[in-house]
Symmetry: C2
Subunit: 520 residues, 2 copies
């Protein structure tokens, strides 16, 4: 293993500080130009128009052997412009209305830059106290600003929060904590048959978490009970209560209910207060240690606004909640906030060193070791970008931002209702408008859906905006919305960082044009 003596710097060819500054400035310029282009007449198609393999065909087959020099960085910048950006779907475009928004912002980008620049690993409090303590404080800031219960605060005896990467990871964390608590609350015998409850409109991550945790064999497994929804798309609480009671009576073990505030399909709002009340009326539920988790991934931002105080109803009766500032709160992906009022169950479910938890600081809550709050061990300095966003915009700035998008969504909703060529498909609860072209007289369901899909594809292919589909709840066949049950509709989520009124007006014009088959 003998090697010649060399200087690391010479051998490894580290970039110098001056080169880093110069290339960094060029990267900042590229990013600022990119954002400017996205908001200009000459913007690229929002939805990528490149087919499978377009980029693969243009990339070398093997990694370079020789170190690159200055010329290589010129090539890198050129490749970003020529190869990478053309093969993107532009989530930061003001004309991106698909899925939910995935807000970036300049303050958050600077936060990611600093996080990468400091390069610390906050797996334990001790491995960088600032990474843990800033995060702990920010979670308390946000809990207070959102009006969450005091039991979620880090300063409460058993509460606190952390930044997970995504809501999927929060749902899994909640499920693991729930399983730990139920197991330690009751004698379950050797083969407990756990059951998880969520609505048919819940995010797919609930089923995925149950599969990962070994509770379900697949997405259709009956141990994930998909509770039907009502005409407003919210979970049917009596139906939930019946299922829980039946399962408990049959010897199965109700483990967790995941309620959704702002479903992906139509931003329906599960009534957490009624869900909690329905469950509290079931003795078997109350004695079991079972858990209520709230997925407010998208809508959580609105809890900052007093006019959305109704979203908080019942949160004093739930065990955990998550919300993604990376969706509609300007904090570049990834950033999911997760709170629980039972951190001991969470930590116990994932700690690989229970003896460690017995140290005084951890037990008292003075020190959190966030490695035990989620799947990964190591973690970036996750809190910096959220800190920058909060200090740059302030809570009042964020509220104004949200309210402007709500105003625009109300505009679009009005246009849909006032235009005989369209049909509104769900009551608007926040910044999502759901609609379809009004069916031709006598058209069957398949023809209706084909027409909706045709319109959506035409709009997306135009490159001027990007919307996404939803299949409306099938159980609406028993409601006043029976004609929409299981039908395809178009979702237009108004929440991209740069979206202003003129974008929305142009988008609606494009949709109307496509619906009437007019040429642009």
């Amino acid at each position: 293993m003998a090697h010649e003596s060399h200087d690391v710097g010479d051998l490894a060819g580290h970039m110098t500080g001056d080169q880093f500054r110069a290339r960094g400035e060029r990267m900042l310029e590229l990013i600022a130009s990119y954002w400017q282009t996205l908001d200009s007449k000459g913007s690229p198609p929002v939805m990528c128009d490149k087919g499978p393999g377009w980029l693969l065909e243009r990339l070398p087959a093997a990694a370079p052997d020789a170190p690159g020099g200055t010329a290589e960085w010129d090539a890198i910048f050129s490749d970003i412009e020529q190869l990478v950006i053309p093969a993107l779907t532009h989530w930061q475009s003001p004309n991106f209305y698909a899925f939910f928004p995935c807000n970036g912002s300049y303050p958050a980008i600077l936060g990611e830059l600093l996080s990468a620049g400091l390069g610390v690993n906050g797996m334990l409090w001790a491995t960088s106290p600032a990474a843990t303590e800033l995060e702990t404080r920010l979670l308390d800031w946000m809990a207070r600003a959102m009006g969450l219960p005091d039991t979620f605060l880090s300063t409460s005896p058993n509460g606190g929060g952390c930044i997970q990467a995504t809501a999927s990871e929060s749902t899994l964390a909640a499920l693991l904590a729930a399983r730990h608590r139920v197991r330690t609350t009751r004698d379950l015998g050797p083969h407990p048959e756990f059951v998880v409850y969520t609505s048919t409109q819940a995010h797919s991550s609930v089923a995925k978490a149950a599969m990962i945790a070994g509770i379900a064999l697949g997405p259709e497994d009956p141990h994930i009970r998909m509770v039907p929804v009502k005409a407003d798309g919210a979970m049917d609480e009596p139906a939930l209560a019946r299922l829980v009671a039946e399962d408990a009576a049959a010897g199965r073990v109700p483990l967790m209910v995941c309620a959704t505030i702002g479903t992906t399909g139509i931003t329906a709002i599960d009534r957490v207060d009624r869900i909690a009340a329905a469950l509290e009326a079931i003795p078997a539920w109350c004695e079991s240690g079972a858990w209520i988790h709230v997925d407010a991934a998208h809508a959580g931002a609105l809890m900052l606004c007093e006019e959305f105080a109704h979203l908080r109803a019942g949160l004093d009766r739930v065990d955990s909640l998550c919300f993604n500032p990376h969706k509609w709160m300007l904090t570049t992906f990834d950033c999911d906030l997760f709170w629980t009022r039972d951190r001991r169950s969470l930590i116990s479910s994932m700690s690989i060193n229970p003896a460690y938890l017995k140290n005084e600081a951890s037990e008292s809550g003075a020190v959190f070791d966030y490695r035990d709050w989620h799947v990964p061990l190591g973690r970036r300095f996750r809190a910096l970008k959220l800190w920058f966003v909060l200090r740059h915009y302030g809570l009042s700035g964020i509220r104004a931002y949200l309210r402007e998008h709500l105003r625009l969504a109300a505009l679009v909703e009005g246009w849909v209702r006032d235009d005989a060529a369209f049909e509104s498909c769900a009551d608007r609860t926040m910044n999502l408008v759901v609609f379809r072209p009004r069916p031709h007289e006598g058209a069957d369901a398949a023809a209706q859906d084909a027409r909706t899909k045709q319109l959506m594809d035409a709009v997306n292919r135009s490159g001027r905006l990007y919307v996404s589909p939803v299949v409306l709840p099938r159980e609406w066949d028993k409601t006043k919305r029976a004609h929409l049950a299981g039908r395809l509709a178009i979702r237009m989520a108004i929440g991209a960082t740069l979206t202003r009124e003129h974008h929305v007006r142009a988008a609606w014009e494009e949709i109307r044009r496509a619906a009437s088959n007019r040429q642009p």
Copy 2:
């Protein structure tokens, strides 16, 4: 829900492009100065010297309400210098020898900056083809450069790789894929009792994955079999084979063996070829669909070097492997590479939409939807920083970088061996040196450990370097290393981005001084 009409830009107070450029340049300057300071005489203590609550006490109790302006950004920069950096443990310090390294580099920082700046979410191929295709190609580049089997390539019928955040997530992904395959290979009855095997020296993430997956109730659960190690710290293959055969005979279901190339404690190297051979001699194993995963989180980088070809022995017989470029390959945390030769089992284990997989592109391997390869749904543009690292350093530059650290580790190893005040505690296999102060004649084990801990604490408190502890394998009591079994030792991992010979010389001088109680 009526709100006044305002312009989003005015209301939300987005930072302008020019402000972004200016503050970005200031951030680049801060980062470059930070790295320079870490490598200078006036560097801060490597291990943070601040106690619990130091930062919390200095942070406001509540989030700001008003938007910040230019003055707020001055305050932010001041707070980074005054509050954040003093409360860090400096992983990028050239004097960081604890745990494993967590390499940052300027090219990788620029990659994170660009990823944040583009702000795309690569959950599906379609939501940004470049994010998926660049990643797929880079995984192929690395597989070829590391000499991994062709079955791991994306171009093979059932192989491929992706970037996970951490090795913990790779281990979990492997376990989920294994469970899916075993379940679909055999009729297991209603309550299969799965068993996972790894060595006593394996990373704690194996036990954590088994807990998350619901296979083990806790870290001490017998469904995680901790196979003893030999005198070199590598898994005892006959002992593994006995356990697997016993479990199979008793009706339990062997699920996965996790081998480690480069254990955390002493960088021992499990003999994957012998493990595979031992397992292949057990009919029940061969018929079961069970899985071999290799955790090469730290040592994987060395597979780039021909003189470490022995690390690859047997990899053609394993199902998956992971390696972290964020450890010792200059790619700022987080970046873990995960390959499998059975992507169908992986995807099936986590897909929440199996119908989707039936589209032609996905089935043919032309399109990967990486959301089904890991726990999270959404994902950053993960590949950019690795691309920049490979293009900047080139494979030859990375090899030179690794070999220089190996040379320095050999130097330290020599100093330990040549100094009667110290005892080498493990054979060096790569860039880790394990030692302790030589015990006083007749000192009992507790006294020996106390002396080792005293030295480690003194060195770390000096602020001049940071090392971490290991408890040596307890099963060494039956080997030629019996006197070291279960004893505390000091790990010195030489692999930080900026570490050069003069740092290592100064570190060793400090260790010698502390051991002899001399004043600095």
